[in-house]
């Protein structure tokens, strides 16, 4: 108590800013999570389209439309898997610091695996692979929010 009062009396009156315009608060794992969810959704839509394609007459207009839908979904899956990688890479290289790694020694491994998993989702149409990507991104988000002192409510 006394020590605190003495310190308060002695404390400098002026502040000097080691300033940065860009607050670390601009980083957020939400982008990666949304991208991973989109990949999952596209896998489901591609599988639906493929099943539908089996029921229409080959070479018909309906067949063409179904193929078009499937190809569009493949394109979105590809783009969002790439976006997911990009979002993860920004967190990895720009947000996380050596002191975070000290507390979470498996951080590099988590990122490496999640980035590889995003690649797997591009190569395949596999609901389990997409779910695994979502889970791996969620684990990175958990670490992120732990470094922030908890998820915003």
């Amino acid at each position: 108590m006394l020590r605190e009062r003495i310190l308060a009396a002695l404390a400098p009156r002026r502040t000097v800013h080691a300033h940065c315009d860009i607050p670390c608060g601009i980083y957020d794992p939400h982008g990666a999570e949304i991208a991973a969810k989109t990949v999952s959704k596209m896998v489901a839509l591609i599988q639906d389209g493929w099943a539908e394609g089996g029921r229409v007459e080959p070479g018909s207009q309906a067949d063409l439309e179904v193929r078009n839908k499937v190809i569009r979904c493949v394109k979105v899956k590809e783009e969002h898997a790439e976006l997911c990688k990009r979002e993860l890479q920004v967190l990895w290289s720009d947000y996380f610091k050596p002191e975070h790694l000290e507390k979470h020694p498996d951080l590099h491994d988590r990122f490496w695996k999640a980035l590889k998993q995003a690649g797997k989702c591009k190569q395949s149409v596999d609901a389990a692979a997409a779910a695994e990507l979502e889970a791996q991104v969620a684990r990175i988000a958990d670490v992120f929010w732990e470094t922030k002192g908890g998820r915003p409510s």
Binding site: A11, P12, R14, T15, V16, H17, A18, H19, C20, D21, I22, C24, D94
Partner: protein, 103 residues
């Protein structure tokens, strides 16, 4: 002065107490590598602590934070007139574990 912000890590940590010598540059100009205190050119009411990265031919200073990724400095606001510098940060009082001259 008390340090606020992280742009000078690991040299200066937020909360460090510094002694600033206001007469350090009465007789000579700031030199590269020194830690100086100067008003933010974009908001002169705010005082910055940065490292002199270089002195240009006209005697103006290029300032940089030690943690480049967490620093807004001459890369954003350009060179600072040497005459605007208010002093040299030279000694850390707190925390006691890192008591001593800063460089």
């Amino acid at each position: 002065m008390i340090v606020v912000g992280e742009s000078m890590r690991p040299t200066l940590e937020p909360g460090d107490w510094l002694l600033v010598d206001p007469d350090a540059y009465q007789r000579r100009a700031p030199r590269a590598r020194e830690l100086i205190v100067a008003p933010d050119p974009r908001d002169p009411a705010r005082v910055l602590v940065k490292r002199v990265a270089a002195v240009d031919l006209d005697g103006r200073l290029l300032l940089a934070g030690d943690d480049r990724e967490a620093s807004t400095d001459s890369r954003t606001f350009g060179a600072v007139e040497a005459g605007a510098v208010q002093g040299r940060a030279w000694f850390r009082v707190r925390p006691l574990g890192r008591f001593g001259p800063v460089r």
